[in-house]
C-alpha cells in the first residue's frame, strides 16, 4: 500500500489567539503550533494500514512555510517514511491549496490519500474533497470507521441522526474524523529516526483564488450573565426569566 497523508501546521487549540495589527490575521509571535489534531488520525491510519499490509510506503505532504518542517518531523517521528514540504505562504482559498496539492499528488501512484476532516485554524473543511474532485478519485469525508479489503473501502461517517455506510474502490481519498483510531505518540526512537528521514522542500506558487480576507475580529463578548441563585430555590426564578426575559420557553 502506498499512502499519502496531508498535514497542516496549526496553532495549538488551547492557545490564546491574538489578532495582528493588520486586523486580518493572527499574531504568531510566541504562539505554540501543533500538527492539526484531525491530521493525527490520518497519520495513525496510514501507519496502521501499512503495518497491516506488511509492506508499502507512507509519505507526508504539507503546504506551508519553513516553520511547517517541525510539524512534518512530528509525523516522521510517529513513523511516516518520508515527507514533502510544498513551500508557500498558503491561501485563504482552500481550492488554491487543493490545486497545488493535487498537482503534486497526481503522479504519486498512491492507493490512498488521507486528509484530516478539518483544519482547526481556518475551519474550511474542504481541501480533501476538493483534491479528490481535481484528481477524479472517489472520496469519503469525515470517516469515523474504516475497513479496507481487496481494494474495497467501506467507511462510516456520522450524519445527523445516524451513521452513513459508504463504499468505494481504491485508489481513494478519505478525510479522517475523531473516533477512527487513537493516534500514537512519537517514541524516543522515532524522534531520533525522524531526523534522518528524507524531507524534500519544493517551492510552489498559488493562484490568487477567489476568497479574500477582509477582517478578523474577536467574537462578540456575551453580555455579562448573572447567577440567578443557589440551589433549588433559584429554579422558579430561572424558569420565569427564561419565559419572560429570554422568551425561549
Amino acid at each position: 500500500m502506498k499512502i499519502a497523508v496531508c498535514l497542516k501546521r496549526v496553532p495549538d487549540t488551547v492557545a490564546k489567539i491574538t489578532i495582528g495589527p493588520d486586523r486580518k490575521s493572527i499574531d504568531e509571535a510566541g504562539l505554540k503550533f501543533v500538527l492539526n489534531p484531525y491530521d493525527e488520525f490520518a497519520v495513525e491510519e496510514a501507519l496502521a494500514l501499512k503495518e497491516k499490509a506488511g509492506a508499502g510506503e507512507t509519505v507526508a505532504y504539507s503546504l506551508g512555510t519553513d516553520a511547517a518542517q517541525e510539524t512534518i518531523r512530528t509525523a516522521l517521528a510517529m513513523g511516516i517514511d518520508r515527507a514533502v514540504l510544498l513551500q508557500s505562504a498558503g491561501s485563504p482559498d482552500g481550492l488554491e491549496v487543493a490545486k497545488a496539492m493535487a498537482a503534486e499528488l497526481k503522479a504519486g501512484g498512491f492507493d490512498l490519500i488521507l486528509f484530516g476532516k478539518l483544519a482547526v485554524d481556518d475551519y474550511n473543511q474542504q481541501v480533501g474533497p476538493m483534491v479528490a474532485e481535481l484528481l477524479g478519485l472517489p472520496c469519503v469525508s469525515s470517516v469515523a470507521h474504516l475497513t479496507i479489503a481487496d481494494g474495497a473501502v467501506e467507511a462510516e461517517r456520522e450524519v445527523e441522526g445516524g451513521v452513513e455506510v459508504v463504499a468505494c474502490r481504491l485508489p481513494a481519498v478519505l478525510t479522517c474524523d475523531k473516533g477512527l483510531n487513537n493516534p500514537r505518540l512519537p517514541s524516543l526512537k522515532g524522534i531520533m529516526a525522524a531526523k534522518k528521514k528524507l524531507l524534500e522542500v519544493k517551492p510552489v506558487s498559488l493562484g490568487p483564488g477567489s476568497i479574500e480576507v477582509l477582517g478578523l475580529e474577536y467574537p462578540a463578548e456575551r453580555k455579562a450573565g448573572r447567577i440567578v441563585g443557589e440551589g433549588t430555590d433559584a429554579v422558579p426564578e430561572l424558569v420565569r426569566l427564561l419565559r419572560t426575559e429570554a422568551k425561549v420557553l
Partner: protein
C-alpha cells in the same frame, strides 16, 4: 446586478429539513425585490414539503429526480448541483454532514472558492461578504467571495425561517440529472438508537458533563429534555471519551457546533473546547456547584448548586408551566 440564488435543500426521512427553510429566508433577504431564489430538490421521489418551498421563500422549485437519490449520492449530487449552478450568482448549501461533503466537490467542479460554515452573509458595496467563526470560535473572519457563482455553506440555526405563506404552493419544475459516474455509494443509513433530534438541529439542547457522575444519571437530562419538548441531549467530551454517551452527542471543538435558542449546560466546567461548540447559542443556562466554573462566564443565567437536586426540580417546574399553557 441583482442576485440569482440557488438554495440546495435537504430532506431527511422523506421531509424537507428546517435548515432548508432557514437558507430560503437568507436567500430571500439577499435577493431583495429584484433578485430571484431557486430551490433545488435532489430526490428519488419528491419529499414531503416540496409544495411548501415557495411559501418559505423560493420563486421556483427545481426537482432533480434519480433512482440513486433515494440516499445521498456524493458524485450524483455534485454533478447535478454544479450543472444547476449555471446562471446563479450565489449557491447556498447547509453546513450539515451532507452539505459539508457536497459543497467542496461542487466548488472544485466549478473552479470557484467556498466559504464554509457561515453565520452571516450580505452584500457590501456590491460584493458578497461572509462572516465565519475560525480558530474554534476564538476569532470571527470576514471574507469577500469574488467568484461567480459564490458557494457558501450556512451553519444551521443561524437564520429564522420565514413564516410560511400558505397561498404560495406547487409550481414545481422537473430538471434533468446530468450523467455522472458514481464513484462512491452510500450503502446504508444506520439510524442512531435515539434517532430523534440531532444536537445541531434542535431548538433546545441540554448537555451533561462529568458532573453527572455516571451514565445512568443522564436519565435526569432526558427527563428534562422530554419536559421541554423538541430538545436534544448533548454531552461534553469527558463523558463521550468515558463511553457514557455517543460521539454524535458531543458538543465542542472535536464534536458538533450548535446554535440552539436555548443551551443548558449541566455539570460541565466550560473548557474552551466545549465553549467552541456552543457559544453562539442565543441563551445559555449553566448549572454547576462550583461558582467559579468558567461556564458561568458565558452563561446568561446560572444556578450554583447540586445538579442532582436542581435537575428534578427544574423538570418539575418546566412541566408545570407547560401544562399551564
Amino acid at each position: 446586478m441583482s442576485a440569482t440564488i440557488l438554495v440546495v435543500t435537504e430532506a431527511r426521512e422523506g421531509a424537507v429539513r428546517k435548515v432548508s427553510h432557514e437558507l430560503l429566508a437568507l436567500a430571500r433577504e439577499l435577493a431583495g425585490t429584484t433578485g430571484s431564489v431557486d430551490a433545488a430538490v435532489l430526490a428519488a421521489d419528491a419529499p414531503g414539503g416540496v409544495d411548501d418551498l415557495r411559501g418559505f421563500g423560493a420563486d421556483r422549485v427545481l426537482v432533480a429526480r434519480h433512482p440513486d437519490f433515494a440516499r445521498y449520492s456524493p458524485d450524483g449530487f455534485a454533478t447535478t448541483v454544479a450543472s444547476l449552478a449555471a446562471g446563479h450568482s450565489v449557491v447556498l448549501l447547509a453546513a450539515t454532514a451532507t452539505g459539508k461533503d457536497l459543497a467542496p466537490r461542487v466548488a472544485a467542479k466549478l473552479g470557484v472558492g467556498l466559504a464554509s460554515d457561515v453565520t452571516a452573509l450580505g452584500f457590501r458595496d456590491g460584493a458578497l461578504v461572509a462572516t465565519r467563526p475560525v480558530y474554534a470560535g476564538r476569532a470571527i473572519q470576514q471574507v469577500k467571495l469574488r467568484a461567480t457563482p459564490a458557494i457558501v455553506t450556512v451553519r444551521p440555526n443561524s437564520f429564522q425561517p420565514r413564516p410560511k405563506d400558505a397561498s404560495l404552493t406547487g409550481a414545481v419544475d422537473a430538471v434533468a440529472v446530468p450523467a455522472f459516474e458514481a464513484r462512491v455509494t452510500v450503502r446504508a443509513l444506520k439510524a442512531s438508537e435515539k434517532a430523534a433530534l440531532d444536537v445541531t438541529e434542535a431548538p433546545i439542547v441540554v448537555s451533561g458533563g462529568r458532573g453527572l457522575k455516571e451514565p445512568a444519571n443522564f436519565k435526569l437530562l432526558e427527563d428534562l429534555a422530554e419536559a421541554l419538548g423538541n430538545t436534544a441531549v448533548g454531552a461534553s467530551r469527558a463523558v463521550v471519551d468515558a463511553g457514557w454517551r455517543d460521539h454524535a452527542a458531543q458538543v465542542g471543538q472535536t464534536g458538533k457546533t450548535v446554535s440552539p435558542g436555548l443551551y443548558i449546560a449541566v455539570g460541565i466546567s466550560g473548557a474552551i473546547q466545549h465553549l467552541a461548540g456552543m457559544r453562539t447559542a442565543k441563551t445559555i443556562v449553566a448549572i454547576n456547584r462550583d461558582k467559579d466554573a468558567p461556564i458561568f462566564k458565558v452563561a446568561d443565567y446560572g444556578i450554583v448548586g447540586d445538579l442532582f437536586e436542581i435537575l428534578p426540580r427544574l423538570t418539575e417546574e418546566i412541566r408545570k408551566v407547560r401544562s399551564e399553557k
